[in-house]
Symmetry: C2
Subunit: 339 residues, 2 copies
């Protein structure tokens, strides 16, 4: 079975992935912050039972108990956006359910009792939401959600109250960044009630010109409106990035020099830091998107970005590595991927 | 017929080329600085007549009158070390005789009436001197050299008085340079009565870690001793460079990273300045010499160095180019040469 990130996708030249996440809590348990370990164990069992009714592409979910994993593996999962940072802080009774194609993942005992997450490649919010909604319906019929007629779904943090929905899109904006237009864009996006931030969410650094744009408002708005609002603004961001790319193309030789040099580094370096990898792969992605580089696939680039994090590298090597050893393995991994 | 620089040569991992030059003047003409144009014309004719008796590998020389060439072509010849800078300042009545394999070149009406030059690849001073001496003997029997029993050959500049011999070797010393040992080496070499300087002789910048080591003393020393002295010191420099290379190899991954990145730049860049080209090709040459890079030939590297100068590029394009256009053509030229 192919993975979600291998699919050709709408707007994949600029949009890396779309994500829908629903926060849900059960009325017969206190919120996470007030739960005992025993309650967490009970919740985990109960939810696992309910999740056995969920199918994705005709197949039931697989499960991983976070405390059965080595620490390095858990860090690698965060790096690949498979689980949240919050989720691995204390792995006790934390359960992950996921589909074979990795598009669906459900965290049990995260900040909320349930975090249902669906990923899709490119700009694909609607289909991701439909998938998420279907799973939510199945669980709703099996579990007793904490729901208030006036407020909507009750959540640990009030910022999720209402729909419990967070829709987000990972966008690759190298041309806007190179043209110094990101500050202006960030201000505009914020004014429109959305958030734009770095690759690993709140407070994180921007790596490889990849930004995450997500909705903020969950109260007094329908899921459909929230998603449409995000999507229409992302479409405008895509247009801005396209215009900025056209400006860069006006000096085609210089742009080609930049993107091909980056391809050269990825194909020839023997030591590659994570930071440099992201800078170079960002240029290569731009080059591929603009049709300057022909022999590299966008999906391969996206996958490389996920696989070359320090934790993922240590996970594959099966041990902690020194920074230079990591840079060495990263360079080797990238070379085999991109040559 | 293959060119001199295409031959496999002794110590080619470190020594690029050896050069022997003899300065000669005719007793029946004043020194260059005091000659009239008419005298220069007469000298040129007379010498051309004498040069018709010279053969190299069984073939007679070819001739170029410098004032028949476009300026750009003359600059390109200087860049490729085919003639001296001095020689093209005023091309009037300046005549160049050269062999098909380009190893022998004879400048008429340079600073001295005659400058006989022989090039060889690698460390090959003795064979170059033998060739030069043979030509000198032929000319000596045809022309009346200005010679003094006590002083030796008379020359325009007293620094050439005596043997009129300048022997020089182009060496590639990237490891000594990277290890910060060049100042020390320069001091030692100078103490031993030799000169070490940049790629284009006196006062020129060092490009690509290439240095020219040459004898200084021409008075009170035989040709043989001068050459042996230079050769034995060059052999010591070679040993120092080899030791420095071994130290660099102790951190093999880092060295591989440096040399392969440079190979990547040369194979992928779309704009390449002369300065950067020399930096990168120097690393690649080091990588090839150390057996780290396998698919590039040393002779091809040497040739690339000669062909990618700004004047040579303009010469091939047949017109003056802007700096960016030159960088563009240089990158294209290098890519086809090294891929």
């Amino acid at each position: 079975m192919s993975k979600w990130y291998e699919a050709k996708a709408p707007h994949e030249d600029i949009v890396i992935s779309s994500r829908i996440r629903l926060a849900r809590n059960l009325s017969d348990f206190p919120f996470e912050s007030r739960m005992t370990d025993e309650q967490r164990r009970q919740l985990s069992e109960k939810v696992k039972q309910a999740l056995s009714h969920v199918t994705v592409s005709g197949e039931t979910l697989q499960f991983t108990e976070m405390d059965s994993l080595e620490e390095i593996k858990r860090y690698a999962m965060v790096e690949r956006h498979e689980v949240s940072k919050e989720f691995i802080k204390d792995p006790t009774h934390r359960l992950l359910g996921y589909s074979k194609d990795e598009s669906v993942s459900i965290m049990v005992n995260e900040e909320d009792h349930l975090r249902i997450q669906v990923m899709a490649s490119g700009l694909n919010l609607t289909s991701a939401y439909q998938q998420c909604n279907k799973i939510d319906d199945v669980l709703d019929s099996e579990l007793d959600y904490a729901f208030n007629e006036r407020l909507g779904y009750l959540t640990t943090c009030p910022t999720n109250l209402g729909t419990g929905l967070r829709a987000s899109v990972m966008v690759h904006l190298p041309a806007l960044e190179k043209s110094g237009l990101m500050n202006q864009l960030t201000a505009t996006v914020n004014k429109l009630g959305l958030t734009i931030r770095g690759t690993y969410g709140e407070g994180s650094k921007v790596l490889g010109s990849i930004y995450q744009i997500s909705n903020q408002i969950t109260l007094g708005i329908t899921e459909k409106d929230a998603i449409q609002n995000l999507e229409s603004i992302v479409l405008q961001v895509i247009e801005s990035e396209k215009r900025a790319r056209e400006s860069l193309l006006a000096e085609k030789r210089r742009l080609e020099d930049v993107v091909f040099r980056s391809l050269g580094v990825l194909r020839y370096a023997r030591l590659l830091s994570s930071r440099e990898f992201f800078e170079e792969i960002s240029n290569v992605r731009l080059g591929v998107s603009l049709g300057l580089i022909h022999d590299v696939e966008i999906s391969r680039i996206n996958r490389m970005m996920a696989l070359t994090g320090s934790a993922s590298i240590c996970e594959r090597e099966g041990r902690e590595l020194s920074p230079e050893d990591r840079d060495f393995v990263r360079a080797n991994t990238v070379r085999t991927y991109i040559s």
